[in-house]
Amino acid sequence: MQQTNINTLEVTVQRGTHDAPQDEIFQVPAYENQTILDVVSWIQHYADPSLTYRFACRVGMCGSCAMMVNGEPRWACRTHVNKVLDKNKMHIAPLRNLPVIKDLAVDMDPFFDKWIQAEGKHHPTQTRNDPIAPVQPETAARVEANAGIECINCSICYAACDTVAGNPDYLGPAALQRAWTVFNDAKNESKQVILDAVSGASGCHNCHSMGSCTHYCPNDLDPMSAISGLKRETAKAFFKGRTNA
């Protein structure tokens, strides 16, 4: 998208709290090579110091700056202004599907609560006194697990998912992908515990495979396929009569 002689950006920012959101417009000078994080920082430095937002690494590693840009969940530090500009306008809002604390900062607690609820934690088989059990990297299960372990919990997939939007109890793509990586971990003991955790009313079976999670993940992960894996395994367990759900 070509930027033709634009000097000023018209940036609409959703501010306020969860119950009282309010759009505010700022005029921000345009620079070459500007990211959304640059824009938001400029506003806070020069226009309104009360603007609340999160960031940390500013190089696309930590996921802290995730927010909605023109209706799409993105990392502010890795989104160039010229990619999202509509003439000279853009709209910035806090991540969808999470409670807003203030302005662009959301409460990540529900996201992490579901991470735990999906039982994506290690269930060890041995103690520190046993010899280390090697894990073969080429095995199918390990390859499957590796596909999901680079999740940094930025919550973009959670914000992108329409099923999360319609079903507030749904565990969501990130939590379920983590459960799948642990399920495939050779050192993990309790596979059925994980399957039971994801088979309840808020579990993996609510996923409609619409794929917004995979579409928007900035790390190119594929939670949708991970959830399909969970569906396969829970179905298998169902037919073997092993389910406790």
């Binding site: 329409d162 099923t163 319609g166 079903n167 109890d169 088979s199 309840g200 009313a201 808020s202 579990g203 079976h205 609510n206 569906k231 829970t234 179905a235 169902f238 389910t243 759900a245």
Partner: protein, 110 residues
């Protein structure tokens, strides 16, 4: 709001209906050649155990499948929850079952 059991009911009823739907489409394409009349239909279906079983199974499967599908839509798009959700699901299932059974009986057994 689907747990494993509802999900499996949905998928299994879908798989049962696969061949039934294809059969139904084939029957429709054949039947509508040269116009339709109730006498024409009934002369082929009345007293037929085959059509009774075919469409009877279809009705049972679609009642389950449609009720669960509508349950999801009611919850995700209209926010229905609590006890009203299973109430709605069961009501829809039974209504479709009853109306469908009546239709199948009307056409095959009379």
């Amino acid at each position: 709001m689907l747990d494993l059991k509802l999900y499996m009911a949905q998928r299994i009823s879908a798989m049962i209906m696969g061949p039934l739907v294809l059969g139904h489409l084939a029957v429709m394409i054949y039947a509508i050649q040269g116009g339709l009349s109730s006498a024409e239909i009934l002369s082929r279906t009345q007293g037929s155990i085959f059509w009774f079983v075919f469409y009877g199974t279809f009705v049972i499967a679609v009642s389950v499948h449609a009720a669960i599908g509508m349950r999801v839509i009611m919850h995700e798009w209209l926010g229905l929850k609590g006890v009203t959700l299973p109430l709605f699901t069961w009501s829809l299932c039974l209504i479709l079952l009853f109306m469908g059974a009546r239709a199948v009986t009307a056409v095959t057994l009379l």
